[in-house]
C-alpha cells in the first residue's frame, strides 16, 4: 500500500534550506500559526476548498470528554455519554487505548481539536488531516451537502441541550431519560434516507417548535378521532391502511403519530432524530472521509517536505504515525478486526491518482474514463459524488484487490462449512468488489425495519416489519428495542421478521403498562 514511497526518495530533490520552517519538537502558538499558513498555501495550490478552520487546543482530559459526547462540543446530558466516558477513561488510564490525535467537527467554521500532548510534527499532521482533509470533505461531499447543515449544528445542539434540561426540570430526570433511552435505541431508524430536511436556525427552531406543538397535537387528535363513523363509511374505512406506505423513518413516524406523547416528548424525539440525521452521512462515508483526509495529510506534508519546509526528523515522525494509521493487519493477524477504513480509503485515493498518472493496460480496460486524466480533478470528483458503497463499487481496482490480497468468504447457515467465494483473480474481481461495496452499505449492515401498519380503528397497535435480506434473522436486542418503541407508542407494538415470501419467521410483541 505504500506505492507512494517514490515521493520520499530524496535523490532528485532540490532542497531549499532557506524555506525550512523552524523545527523544535514542542509546539507553541506562533509555530502553529506558521505551520497552519504553510499548509494552507500548499492546500490552496491543490485547490482544496474548505470551511474556515477553528483550532482548539485541549488537554487529554478534555479529549476524553469530547470522546464521550460523540465529539460534539455541547450536547444534552445522558447517562450513556457518561458510560462511554467511564469506558474510555478506564482504557486510557490503563494504557489500553491511545487517544485520537484529533477530533474534527463538521461545522462552519470547522472545529478541530488538537491535543496539547502532541509534538509539533504531530500538530502539523493533525492540522493537515483535519483542517484540510476532513474539512474539504465535509464541504464537498454530496451527502454532507445534502443532509447536514454545518452552519447551524452547534446552535442546534445548544438549543437541544437547553430544551432537554428544561424538560428535566419540569418533568423530572427519569421521565426525560426514558424518552431519550427509547429514542437512542431507534436512532439508526430516525433518518430520512432519500429526503432532504430543511435548514433552520436556532431561533427559528424555537419559534417553530411552539407552533408545531399546537399543530401536531391537533393532527394527532384528528388521526385518533374516536367519534363513531357513519355506518356506510365503515367498510371503506376498514380497508384504508395506515400508514399508506411503509415508513422507514420510525422516529419521524412516532413523532408525528404516536397517540399519547406529550408535546415535549415529541420534541425530544425530534431532537434525537435531527442529530441522527446529522451523523448519517458520516456513518456512510467512513472509508472515503478518512481515506481522503489521510491522502491529503500525506500529500500536503510530502509536498512541503519536497519544498524543503520540513526537516527530516519531522518527516520521520509524521511518516511513522501515518504508517501506523494505515496499517492493515491481515486476516490471520491477532489484531485483525475487519478492514481498516483508513487503510482502504487511503489506498484507494492513492490508487486513483496512480490510475490517472500511470495507467496500466488493465487500468485502461477497467477505468477508461479515468486513465490519463488530471488526477486532482478526478479525485475531487470522486470525493464529491460518492459514499463508501458506491465509491468502492466504482473505484476499487484489481490492483488494489491484489495488493490487499482480498478474498470473500460466504457464510451460509445452511452449509456446514464456510466457502471461499472469490479471491483476487480474474474471475473474482467483480464479485469481490460487489461484496466489499455491499459490506459498506448501511442498508445491508442494518436490518431493514419499517413501520408496517397501525390498527387505527382498533386497539391502536403498531406493527413493525423486518424484511429479511439473505435470511438473516434479528438478534436478541430486538426485544429490548421493541419495549422502547412500545413506551413511545403507548399501545401494543409488534415486530415481525418476514422472509422473502412474507412468512413471519420471528416476532416480538410488547404491551406497555397503561399508566395514562
Amino acid at each position: 500500500m505504500m506505492e507512494e514511497a517514490e515521493l520520499l526518495t530524496p535523490s532528485d530533490r532540490k532542497k531549499d534550506e532557506s524555506r525550512r520552517l523552524p523545527c523544535p519538537s514542542d509546539w507553541n502558538f506562533e509555530l502553529l500559526e506558521t505551520y497552519f499558513q504553510a499548509i494552507r498555501r500548499t492546500a490552496e495550490s491543490f485547490g482544496l476548498d474548505t470551511y474556515p478552520a477553528q483550532l482548539e487546543l485541549i488537554s487529554s482530559e478534555q479529549m476524553l470528554d469530547a470522546y464521550a459526547s460523540v465529539g460534539m462540543p455541547v450536547n444534552y446530558r445522558h447517562w450513556s455519554y457518561g458510560k462511554h466516558f467511564i469506558q474510555s477513561e478506564k482504557s486510557y488510564r490503563r494504557g489500553h487505548m491511545g487517544l485520537a490525535y484529533e477530533i474534527v467537527i463538521n461545522s462552519d467554521p470547522c472545529i478541530a481539536y488538537l491535543m496539547e500532548e502532541n509534538t509539533m510534527p504531530m500538530q502539523a499532521l493533525v492540522m493537515a488531516h483535519a483542517c484540510f482533509g476532513h474539512n474539504s470533505f465535509f464541504k464537498g461531499n454530496y451527502l454532507f451537502r445534502m443532509w447536514t447543515d454545518a452552519s447551524s449544528i452547534i446552535d442546534y445542539l445548544v438549543y437541544a441541550k437547553s430544551f432537554v434540561s428544561e424538560c428535566e426540570e419540569r418533568h423530572g430526570i427519569d421521565a426525560v431519560e426514558q424518552v431519550l433511552d427509547a429514542c437512542h435505541a431507534l436512532m439508526n431508524y430516525g433518518v430520512d434516507r432519500y429526503r432532504r430536511p430543511q435548514k433552520i436556525s436556532m431561533v427559528e427552531e424555537e419559534n417553530r417548535r411552539k407552533e408545531r406543538e399546537a399543530y401536531l397535537q391537533q393532527q394527532v387528535n384528528d388521526l385518533w378521532r374516536t367519534l363513531p363513523a357513519k355506518a356506510g363509511k365503515q367498510a371503506e374505512k376498514k380497508t384504508r391502511r395506515f400508514p399508506e406506505e411503509p415508513q422507514e423513518n420510525i422516529l419521524y413516524f412516532i413523532e408525528k403519530n404516536a397517540p399519547l406523547l406529550e408535546p415535549w416528548q415529541r420534541e425530544i424525539v425530534r431532537i434525537v432524530r435531527k442529530i441522527a440525521q446529522y451523523f448519517y452521512p458520516q456513518r456512510q462515508t467512513q472509508v472515503m472521509n478518512e481515506g481522503w483526509a489521510t491522502f491529503w495529510h500525506y500529500t500536503l506534508l510530502n509536498t512541503m517536505y519536497d519544498q524543503g519546509m520540513l526537516s527530516d526528523g519531522y518527516m520521520m515522525e509524521i511518516l511513522s504515525s501515518h504508517t501506523n494509521v494505515v496499517f492493515q493487519p491481515p486476516v490471520t493477524h491477532p489484531a485483525y478486526s475487519g478492514i481498516n477504513p483508513y487503510a482502504l480509503g487511503f489506498a484507494m485515493f492513492t490508487d486513483i491518482k496512480r490510475i490517472c498518472q500511470n495507467p496500466t493496460d488493465e487500468d485502461r480496460e477497467w477505468f477508461p474514463e479515468l486513465a490519463g486524466t488530471d488526477w486532482i480533478k478526478s479525485l475531487d470528483y470522486a470525493m464529491r459524488h460518492f459514499k463508501d458503497e458506491s465509491f468502492i463499487g466504482q473505484y476499487l481496482s484489481p490492483k488494489m484487490m491484489r495488493d490487499f490480497r482480498m478474498f470473500a468468504v460466504l457464510d451460509d447457515a445452511a452449509q456446514s462449512e464456510l466457502e471461499v467465494s472469490a479471491i483476487h483473480d480474474d474471475q473474482g474481481y467483480r464479485r469481490l468488489r460487489e461484496s466489499l461495496s455491499r459490506q459498506h452499505d448501511l442498508g445491508w449492515r442494518e436490518p431493514n425495519i419499517q413501520v408496517w401498519n397501525v390498527n387505527a380503528r382498533g386497539d391502536r397497535s403498531l406493527t413493525l416489519r423486518h424484511i429479511r435480506h439473505s435470511d438473516r434473522p434479528l438478534d436478541n436486542g430486538a426485544e429490548e428495542v421493541v419495549k422502547h418503541v412500545a413506551r413511545l407508542w403507548g399501545f401494543r407494538v409488534r415486530l415481525e421478521s418476514v422472509d422473502t415470501h412474507d412468512r413471519v419467521m420471528q416476532h416480538w410483541e410488547v404491551t406497555p403498562p397503561q399508566h395514562h
Partner: protein, 434 residues
C-alpha cells in the same frame, strides 16, 4: 478543488486555547450514569464492604455491572442466513475452498461491516468509583455521621509541652547556662560602673602626680585609693542566684493522634453468619469514625467463647467456633492488653463489643465488675451492641453499668438497617458526656 465557486472566501481561521476552560465536561454525564445504576452500585458497595478488610475500607472500589444491564439495545443481525464478507491478507485460499466454521458461531469472523458490534463478548461492565464516592454510597442509607465528628473531640485531652522563652525560677535540670552567664555579665557591668569610672580617674591622677614629681607621701595616698577601688570591683559577685535563668515550658492541649480500638466479639455457636455480619459492619463504622479523628488507629481483635484470644482480622471474622460463652474472658484479656501495651496517655482507647447476649449465668456480674472497676476508667468510650433481640442476664448487668457510666453505651441491632441509627445513637453527644 477544481470546483472553486466558494473558494473566494479566504480561509479565515482562529486558534483557541481551551486547555484551561471546561475540564470535566463529562462529570454531569458520569453522574447520570451513577444515578441510573445507583441501586446496583449500592449493592456492589455493600458487597465490597463485606469482602474487604476493615483497614482498607476507605478505598475506592471496582464496580461490576452485568453488561446486559448497561447495554444500549439496537436492532442488529443475529448469525444465520447467508452473508459474504471480504477480508484482506489471503495466503493460500483459492475460489471454492471450504473452511471450517470458526467456533462461537460468529459467522465469518467479525467482518469490517461491524454488523454484530453488540453480539460479541459478554464481558461485564467494570468501572471504578473514587474513595469519596464509595464513602457516599456506603453512608448513603446511613446518612453521613457528620454531626458526630466534632463531638468526641471535646473530651479527648492530650497535652503537649512547648518551649516558651525563659523564666527566673525553675528546676535545676531546666537551667539555661548561657542565658544565666549572660545575665551575670550584664549585672556585673551594671554594678561595677561607678567604681570603674572612679578607678580610671584615680589612675590618671596617680599618673599625673608621678609625672609632676609630687612628694612620695601624696603618691602613696593615691596608690592606696586605686588599690581600694580595685578591691571593690572584685567584690561584685561573679554569679548571683538572681542571674539564673531557666527554660520555660508551657502545657498545651493537643489534638490526639493515636487511638486503639478493641473489637470484642462473641464467636460461640449461637453467633451465626448474619449476626457476625451485623457486628462486622458495626465495627467498620466505628473504625471509620475513629480513623477520621485520629492520625493513627490501631485495631485489636479479641474473640471469645469460653476463652478469649487475640486474633488477626481474618480469623476474627471468618473462623467459626462453637461452645459456651464466658464474656468476662474477653474483658480480662482486653484489660491485660491495655495495661501491657496502651497505658500511655497518648492512647485513646475505645472498646466495641458485639455479642448475642447469651452468657454463662454467673459470668455476667463479673463482667460488670470488670467494666466498672478496671476497664471503663481507662477507655474513652465503650459501646456494646447486642445482635439479638432477647434480653438476657448480660443485658441486665450491662444496663446497670450504663446507668453508672456516661461513656458506656449499649444498643440492640437486629437488622442491617438499624446499624447506622444505632451507631449514631451510641455516639450521640449527651449532656453528661460533654
Amino acid at each position: 478543488m477544481s470546483n472553486n465557486s466558494g473558494g473566494e472566501r479566504s480561509m479565515l481561521h482562529q486558534v483557541i486555547d481551551r486547555r484551561l476552560s471546561g475540564k470535566n465536561k463529562s462529570i454531569g454525564n458520569r453522574e447520570r450514569f451513577l444515578r441510573r445504576y445507583k441501586e446496583q452500585i449500592k449493592e456492589a458497595v455493600r458487597k465490597a464492604v463485606g469482602d474487604r478488610s476493615i483497614r482498607d475500607i476507605e478505598e475506592g472500589a471496582d464496580i461490576t455491572l452485568p453488561k446486559r444491564d448497561v447495554s444500549e439495545p439496537t436492532f442488529g443481525h443475529a448469525p444465520g442466513g447467508s452473508r459474504e464478507l471480504v477480508h484482506p491478507g489471503n495466503q493460500e485460499y483459492i475460489r471454492g475452498d471450504r473452511i471450517q466454521r470458526p467456533q462461537g458461531g460468529g459467522g465469518g469472523g467479525s467482518g469490517g461491516s461491524g454488523a454484530s458490534q453488540d453480539g460479541q463478548g459478554e464481558d461485564d461492565f467494570v468501572f471504578r468509583i473514587s474513595r469519596e464516592e464509595f464513602m457516599n454510597y456506603f453512608f448513603d442509607d446511613l446518612a453521613l455521621p457528620r454531626m458526630i465528628r466534632t463531638q468526641l473531640l471535646a473530651d479527648v485531652p492530650e497535652w503537649k509541652y512547648r518551649r516558651a522563652g525563659y523564666v527566673s525560677e525553675g528546676s535545676p535540670s531546666a537551667l539555661h547556662i548561657v542565658r544565666s552567664m549572660r545575665t551575670g555579665l550584664a549585672r556585673r557591668i551594671a554594678m561595677g560602673g561607678d567604681t570603674r569610672i572612679e578607678l580610671r580617674r584615680a589612675i590618671e591622677q596617680l599618673k599625673e602626680a608621678e609625672e609632676r614629681g609630687d612628694p612620695e607621701k601624696d603618691l602613696a595616698l593615691l596608690r592606696e585609693a586605686v588599690a581600694e577601688l580595685r578591691t571593690r570591683l572584685k567584690r561584685v559577685p561573679w554569679l548571683d542566684p538572681f542571674d539564673l535563668r531557666y527554660r520555660n515550658r508551657v502545657r498545651e492541649p493537643m489534638p490526639t493522634s493515636k487511638a486503639v480500638m478493641f473489637c470484642l466479639m462473641d464467636v460461640s455457636g449461637s453467633m451465626d453468619e448474619s449476626r457476625k455480619d451485623l457486628a462486622k459492619r458495626f465495627f467498620i463504622l466505628l473504625y471509620l469514625f475513629l480513623s477520621r479523628h485520629y492520625e493513627k488507629t490501631e485495631v485489636v481483635f479479641i474473640r471469645h467463647h469460653t476463652q478469649a484470644a487475640e486474633v488477626t482480622e481474618d480469623e476474627f471474622f471468618h473462623a467459626t467456633e462453637s461452645g459456651g460463652t464466658v464474656v468476662s474472658s474477653a474483658l480480662t484479656l482486653m484489660n491485660d492488653i491495655i495495661r501491657a501495651r496502651y497505658m500511655g496517655s497518648e492512647w485513646n482507647i475505645y472498646g466495641a463489643q458485639a455479642s448475642d447476649g447469651d452468657n454463662w449465668q454467673q459470668d455476667s456480674s463479673k463482667c460488670r465488675e470488670l467494666l466498672d472497676h478496671k476497664i471503663l476508667p481507662l477507655v474513652r468510650y465503650y459501646a456494646y451492641v447486642q445482635v439479638a433481640d432477647e434480653d438476657q442476664n448480660l443485658w441486665e448487668e450491662y444496663t446497670r453499668v450504663r446507668d453508672a457510666n456516661s461513656h458506656f453505651a449499649m444498643q440492640k441491632i437486629v437488622t442491617p438497617s438499624q446499624i447506622f441509627p444505632v451507631f449514631r445513637d451510641l455516639f450521640k453527644k449527651t449532656p453528661q458526656a460533654a
